[in-house]
């Protein structure tokens, strides 16, 4: 990777405001997901300031044909100022590139029209990793910032760094290791993949990631340590400062919030419940809040559906697990009010875990896997409980303890930290924008 490039003086685009272009995969109001949610939180946070002018460009794909205007490659979004949609097409999901010249030409024109001082890219999916090179060529003086929301730059297996061979966590990529996960692809292809990504990452001035542990993964992969830093994700306070009282006298109601896909580990909860039931321990409840079971593997989908069907066949008083389905942010308070604990059983690294912050907002201690962003953020037995990732028996024992240990919930809940705020995140990113940017440095003064 190259050293940070020297900066030319920033063109006098605006007299006072620094223009910041945020590029995100998907618009969070069209496709839910952590990366786009954070990108949009940042956009809203920057909008609240009077010293910067943010512009938001989000990609969409052909799941929204009605939003594709004939012949257009970039359009506005729902009449909102400074929000635009990149109408992605011909995307190559292996090389992560757009194969449509008119789209790249439109993006070039857009960049020249917006003329941002800072371009901050949140993910490359549906846009293409090679747009980084295009941005650098079109805007040689801009500060180019890239945020990793997972490990897709390193890992072709959906960026999870979970080995497809045995579902164990992977801590580094290599040609042979990656070939083992994708036997149909030769080791050479993974050398090229790494070269391809490195080639385009070379254009970036600063990388950020929401998990501190992620810095190690990326520096080991090849990102220079002096170019990557940790900036926490932050959200506005959905609880509006008010933590909820416990949901039950026994502190024995547990909630899952998130996607019903393999790596989020909802199946680990179901297996833990089955173990506890078999042991005769049934005085607790689990509420599942989420969606996207269709994206789970056949195995997990079958397990989920079979379990819930069996659960539904039980007498009401014998049921432990209930599926409450998807929810919007506005419904979060109501859903959180029904549980005492929030279980985050992910079986991948989990870069940050927005649901952890949301649990804290509502005063819910977290029970989580003991790896990655979950372990980094949740201090075991101080304000959270950790269990061995992927182990239903370990989770079962933790649930039993949470239900049984006198005063545990109160002690942990009292020690819960305040989740990082949106303002904290905005300040963090402004620091990154300032570093090296003549124009942005003006903000400091």
């Amino acid at each position: 990777m190259k050293a940070p490039r020297g900066k030319a003086s920033v063109p006098p685009v605006a007299a006072a405001k620094t223009k910041i272009l945020l590029i995100s995969l998907f618009h969070p109001e069209l496709v839910r997901g952590g990366a786009q949610q954070i990108a949009y939180e940042l956009f809203e946070g920057l909008q609240a300031r009077d010293d910067v002018e943010p512009v938001f460009l989000a990609s969409i794909d052909n799941k929204f044909p009605a939003l594709y205007k004939s012949g257009a490659k970039i359009t506005g979004f729902d009449g909102r100022p400074n929000e635009f949609l990149f109408l992605s097409r011909d995307y190559d999901y292996w090389w992560h590139k757009t194969s449509s010249p008119p789209h790249l030409e439109a993006l070039e024109e857009f960049l020249l029209q917006i003329a941002p001082d800072v371009v901050h890219v949140h993910h490359f999916l549906t846009l293409g990793i090679d747009v980084l090179t295009l941005i650098r060529r079109v805007l040689p003086a801009c500060r180019l910032v890239f945020t990793f929301h997972e490990f897709l730059g390193i890992c072709a297996a959906d960026g999870h760094m979970v080995r497809k061979t045995d579902r164990s966590l992977c801590d580094h990529a290599s040609q042979v290791r990656c070939h083992q996960c994708f036997p149909e692809r030769s080791p050479e292809q993974f050398l090229m993949r790494k070269m391809w990504f490195s080639r385009h990452f070379e254009n970036v001035d600063a990388f950020t990631c929401p998990g501190k542990f992620m810095v190690e993964h990326f520096t080991r992969w090849g990102i220079p340590r002096d170019k990557i830093s940790h900036v926490t994700n932050g959200q506005r306070d959905y609880a509006v400062g008010g933590r909820l009282p416990p949901a039950s006298p026994g502190r024995n109601r547990f909630g899952f919030f998130g996607q019903y896909v393999d790596v989020k580990g909802v199946q680990i909860i179901l297996r833990a419940v089955a173990l506890l039931r078999a042991e005769g321990f049934t005085d607790f409840a689990v509420e599942l809040n989420g969606d996207n079971l269709r994206y789970a593997s056949e195995t997990v989908r079958h397990e989920f559906e079979t379990f819930l069907a069996a659960e539904a066949a039980l007498a009401v008083q014998d049921r432990i697990v209930v599926n409450r389905g998807s929810y919007q942010v506005a419904q979060l308070a109501g859903r959180m009010a029904c549980v005492d604990w929030c279980i985050v059983p992910s079986i991948w690294w989990e870069s940050f875990g927005l649901v952890i912050s949301e649990a804290w907002m509502f005063g819910r201690p977290v029970i989580c896997s003991n790896v990655g962003g979950m372990a980094e953020r949740n201090r075991h037995d101080v304000f959270a409980l950790q269990f061995q990732m992927g182990d239903p028996r370990a989770l079962a024992e933790t649930i039993r303890r949470a239900c049984s240990e006198e005063g545990l919930w109160d002690r942990l809940a009292a020690a819960l930290p305040t989740p990082p705020t949106r303002d904290t995140m905005v300040e963090g990113y402004l620091e990154v924008y300032r570093d090296g940017s003549t124009e942005a440095k003006r903000l400091v003064s």
Binding site: S99, P101, L104, D130, L134, S186, L191, M192, W196, R199
Partner: protein, 531 residues
């Protein structure tokens, strides 16, 4: 056609020739000793993978059956007559034609094949190659050691469409066997591919390599080379050229890449080569032997020119002209005095390649840079190529009548698989030859040598041939340090006809250069360089 009919009921539609045509890698696996035969592969692996149900097998099977349906034009055999059959009579209008069949010519050898045309014309060919025919052996109650199969190349332009009918006559001693001529009209390239695929799958008694040489030497090899060269020339005459990116009248050098079958290497090379300072002083010329890539290549060139600011020339050929001819066409479009012949799966190991190349040209005497290669590395970091040398294999074919000896040239790479920092392969040095995966050549010298020899079929040996031409013309070949990755064999697709082409190429290369190599260039420390 040689074939093995599978005896297990579940695989009643297993046909060896179709299986090998559909899955070319099976042929490679057999040659490398992993499997004994296509049937062995099918029974150990292919059946579990349901390969016979795959569309590509079904397609190959259909093509095979189409040939077989014509094939059984076997004349009824009367006592004292010669049993024979014509599998297929392929005619490429205005080009040449080919007869594939078998004949039990024990005692009365097949000497010629003639076509007696309906319009009264007659053409005759003695360019006949022989091979085993397991099915014919079974049909006639086989006697060991005799090659019943034949295929003959007939270099004649036949207008079978306007004058259908006629006879195919097999001349066996003083006996003539006639078969009705039922021509199957086919594009010339399809005929070419059919012949080379047949060549690749042919089997013999004794050493396959030696026996193939003997067959090529019967005249059919020369005919194949002539036809191939003529066809390549016709394909190259239809080249279409378009340019993308910044226009300049002259560049520091021209990087010439021949694409075949795979598109992604185009944008990967554009990305990796463009990362170097000075890369924009080079132009990139891609000549495409795969017309099906045309649209994608145009699209990617438009993107690459925009993203990387590269000057890119695309040359589209209407069919596969082969490596040598395609590169020669591309060199003709170069706007510089220096050409770099680069394979699509070659990438710079660092971002100094352009400066490094410029420094070599500027600092070394001209006779060290007229034609040079570079060290190439595998993806695992080990050396793949530090130059090439030649070995002479002593081929021996065991026959009932005795032994047949044939010298065969083999090309080897210095340091293949060696640690990357071995001193022997560091720095500059003279070498017998360098791989066509990366050659930097003075354009004038390249053209004075006649470029790549275009007789070689598809691609193989023309790099070694070029280097030997350079040595013979008085300019040594060098290796200089511009480290490159080479994902050997990954840059294009390899199909069954290519294997047949390799057989012909090795025969041609040996025929052309055996004496020179034996005198001056044999072994890793040849006399011409180390004496």
């Amino acid at each position: 056609m040689n074939e093995i009919s599978c005896t297990i009921e579940a695989a009643s539609d297993f046909i060896e020739a179709a299986y090998l045509a559909a899955f070319p890698k099976v042929g490679e696996a057999i040659r490398s000793g992993q499997f004994k035969s296509a049937l062995d592969h099918y029974m150990r692996k292919g059946a579990a993978e349901a390969r016979l149900a795959e569309p590509r097998y079904q397609k190959a099977l259909a093509a095979h059956q189409s040939i077989r349906s014509i094939s059984s034009q076997t004349s009824p055999v009367q006592p004292g007559q010669i049993a024979s059959g014509i599998d297929v009579f392929l005619v490429a209008t205005d080009e040449f034609c080919c007869v594939i069949g078998w004949v039990d010519d024990r005692g009365r050898p097949l000497e010629a094949i003639s076509l007696q045309l309906a319009d009264g014309g007659c053409v005759r060919s003695t360019q006949i190659a022989r091979c085993r025919r397991a099915d014919a052996e079974a049909a006639i109650g086989f006697s060991f050691g005799h090659l019943l199969g034949f295929w003959a190349l007939i270099p004649a332009a036949l207008d079978m469409a306007s004058a259908p009918g006629g006879l195919i006559v097999l001349h066996c001693g003083d006996t003539e066997i006639t078969h009705p001529a039922s021509p199957k009209l086919t594009p010339a390239v399809t005929l070419r591919d059919t012949i080379f695929e047949y060549c690749a799958n042919a089997t013999y008694f004794g050493s396959p390599a030696v026996e193939a040489f003997i067959q090529m030497g019967s005249g059919v090899g020369e005919g194949l080379l002539r036809q191939n060269k003529a066809m390549s020339a016709a394909i190259c005459a239809g080249a279409y050229v378009e340019r993308h990116g910044p226009a300049r009248s002259i560049f520091a050098a021209s990087i010439v890449v021949c694409l075949y079958g795979r598109l992604e290497y185009f944008f990967l090379q554009a990305a990796f080569f463009s990362a170097a300072a000075g890369a924009r002083d080079y132009e990139f010329i891609y000549v495409c032997n795969s017309p099906e890539l045309t649209e994608g290549l145009q699209r990617e060139a438009r993107i690459a020119a925009r993203q990387y600011g590269l000057s890119i020339t695309l040359i589209f050929l209407p069919n596969n002209a082969g490596f040598g001819a395609a590169n020669n066409v591309a060199v003709g479009q170069a706007r510089s005095d220096r050409v770099l012949i680069v394979n699509p799966d070659v990438f710079p190991r660092n971002t100094q390649w352009a400066q490094c190349h410029a420094d070599i040209l500027a600092s070394l005497p001209a006779d060290q840079t007229m034609l040079f290669g570079a060290p190439l590395f595998y993806d695992d970091g080990s050396l793949m190529h530090g130059g090439m040398f030649f070995e002479i294999d002593s081929g021996l074919s065991v026959k009932p009548s005795g032994f047949i000896h044939q010298d065969l040239l083999r090309v080897e790479h210095y340091g293949k698989g060696a640690p990357p920092d071995l001193p022997a392969y560091q720095g500059s040095g003279r070498v017998p030859a360098v791989t066509g995966a990366f050659i930097s050549a003075d354009r004038g010298w390249f053209e004075r040598l006649g470029g790549f020899s275009e007789e070689y079929v598809f691609g193989h040996y023309e790099d070694a041939d070029l280097c030997l031409k350079s040595w013979q013309a008085g300019q040594p070949v060098w290796r200089h340090d511009i480290p490159m990755w080479h994902l050997e064999g990954k840059g294009s697709v390899r199909r069954a006809p290519h294997e047949g082409g390799s057989i012909v190429n090795r025969w041609h290369f040996t025929s052309t250069w055996l004496d020179v190599v034996a005198a001056d260039f044999c072994g890793p420390a040849p006399a011409r360089i180390y004496s």
